[in-house]
Amino acid sequence: MSFEVKYMLDGTVAVIDIPERLDASCSSELKDKISEVVNNSVYKIIINLAKTNFIDSSGLGALVSKISVCKANGGDIKLVSPGKRVLEILQITHLDKVLSYYHDLDEAVNSFATD
């Protein structure tokens, strides 16, 4: 599967849609895509989880694979619409205390606009 990146706020915010399952079969690809975004000096990244109902440990690792680079450059990684199962995983791993999450894409984009 290939991950599409949409750019918003004059190209300063990247939005990546995640499929139903984020696991070992596609986590490397997501990692590469996030690297590509960061290498293009875009450090504000929104991960859209609206369709996602399963994440394994490799998927989780991919989501945060560039978090320190983003933070160090004034950016962040924010989540949109994490479902119940995804939220549970975030709570188990305490990533819910690190990653901000929003109900919809507009809210997430606006949060970057007001940062």
């Binding site: 440990s57 694979s65 560039k66 320190s68 160090a72 188990i92 791993t93 305490h94 205390k97």
Partner: protein
Amino acid sequence: MNKPKYKHNLEPDYYRPLFEVPIDSKRKIINLLTLLYGSEVSRRIYPELERIMKVYYAHKTEELIKWEEVFDQSHMFSQEDAILITYGDIIRKNSEKPLKVLSEFCRNYFSNSFNTIHILPFFPYSSDRGFSIKDFEEVDPNIGTWADIEDINYDFKLMFDGVFNHISSKSKWFQEFLNGNPDFKRFFIVLSTKEMVSEDHLKLIVRPRTSPLFTEFQTIEGPKLVWTTFSPDQVDLNFHNPNVLLKMIDIFLTYVRRGADIVRLDAVTYLWEELGTDCVHLKQTHAIIKLFRAILDTVAPYVAIITETNVPHEQNIQYFGNGYDEAHMVYNFALPPLVYHAFVNNNTHYLTKWAQIIHKVSDQATYFNFLDSHDGIGLLPVKGILPDSEIEKLLYKTIEKGGFISYRTDSDGKYSPYELNITWYSAINGNYEDYDDSTKVKRYVASRAIALFFIGIPGIYIHGLLGSENDAEAVLKEKHTRSINRKIIDGFILKEKLDDKSSITSRIVSELNELINIRKTEELFHPNCLQIIHNLNEELFAFERRDEKNNDFVFCVVNVTEKRSEFTIPEGLMKKEYVVFKNLVSGEIFNYKKNDPVHIDPYGVMILKSKSGA
């Protein structure tokens, strides 16, 4: 005279004269009991304590008693000490009892490096991977027997956990409390209603976890709130009750009798609770540790206490007491986050600055230098040592490397990071896909070299020794971030990896073995030798270990960067224009001219010893 292999008999020998407690020891013990309970109670309970000591003594072999007559406590530790930290059941082979499997691996693969095995709690338990103990005096039948422990003790010194702060809610003791048995009524800290503790008092109490401090249990007399510092399943013991203390002393000496050379006092910071205080490091807690020490000094002077206090460095070292009356070792908790910081940032600034305050404690007390354990990398110990901004960067780096963060609740109710959950291998090498295996091994071994030669006794956790990567899947499965570093190891696969000389595991084990053997054969790494830190440049961590009697020294340098670096040997170490040095790591001998540069490879480790006397 060597320490005897058999130190205790299974049965006491009361045909021998009973142990007479020396008057000085008696006075010291009574003073400590008085500090805890007042003079009246102290006088009342002392005879029982003396009985417990006499019973212990009656189990000693004649050989041990004779050996102790010549034992010098300043030789309690030596450069030969290196501790392997492991769960008793972490390596599994089909249906073989895990302690037997552990024994086999320790003998066949690790005995050249380690002389001491810290077997994490091996008792029956109900949660927290062994730290919620149901019975302090039994070996968990799922992993083996006391005979298996004794068997390991034949070739290794042993470190046991004294998990004395709390007991499992499934234990007989706690069940008897629920049943209303009067003998156990005061074994726990109990409230009838929440209102018995004011909000102000609650806010003062330092919490290591985010779980509620009190847990409600239904007893024969109705619902009761019970003090549970760590989890609802780990019920704090009430040391205000002297019977609890006496029971724990009895168990403590049972561990000595069963082979413990070192007893690790787990979570000892929280031992004594006193409303109106922060309930950590209270003078009564220190008094209880001093009491354990005084008892050991009296009946088992070769046994050491190590305190596990994951707290800011300044508070941590308070557990040394005056260097002769409390812990023999404290975990050097600031070392792991600082070494991690140095390797993540390719910069030793904060590590070097902190290390300058670490000196020899006394002839009988020293640091336990570890980088990883069954728990995570504590962050409280570097509060005030690393700026908050640097700690925050470490958090994000850890997440990036596939690790996680554990939190605790602050007095204002907010969550704050408590520890980093990540294997040491992933901490050092995670997210560095560009590095080849050789560079990864070199970088990893360099990080470990710091702890191996730093003043104190080194300890390596089994997953650190094997270079294990994060087990994030176990975190999701077990719903516990610490599970990332507690993976069960298949013994057959491990054997294959250790036998395959090209595997990363085998290369790491072999290189660490070489470094440990350099340490073992060099007296200047004795914990009683001095340590002086040198600030060469921020790419390097450098220190000197020196024998204050004859001024012999070794100069240790570790490069934490991927670049070749250089340094000059400090002038203070060069009494002549030319000195011949041997690098104990490479074996290279070179004639060094004062102020000439010495080159050190990326992630290089150099241990320079003068051949001719500098």
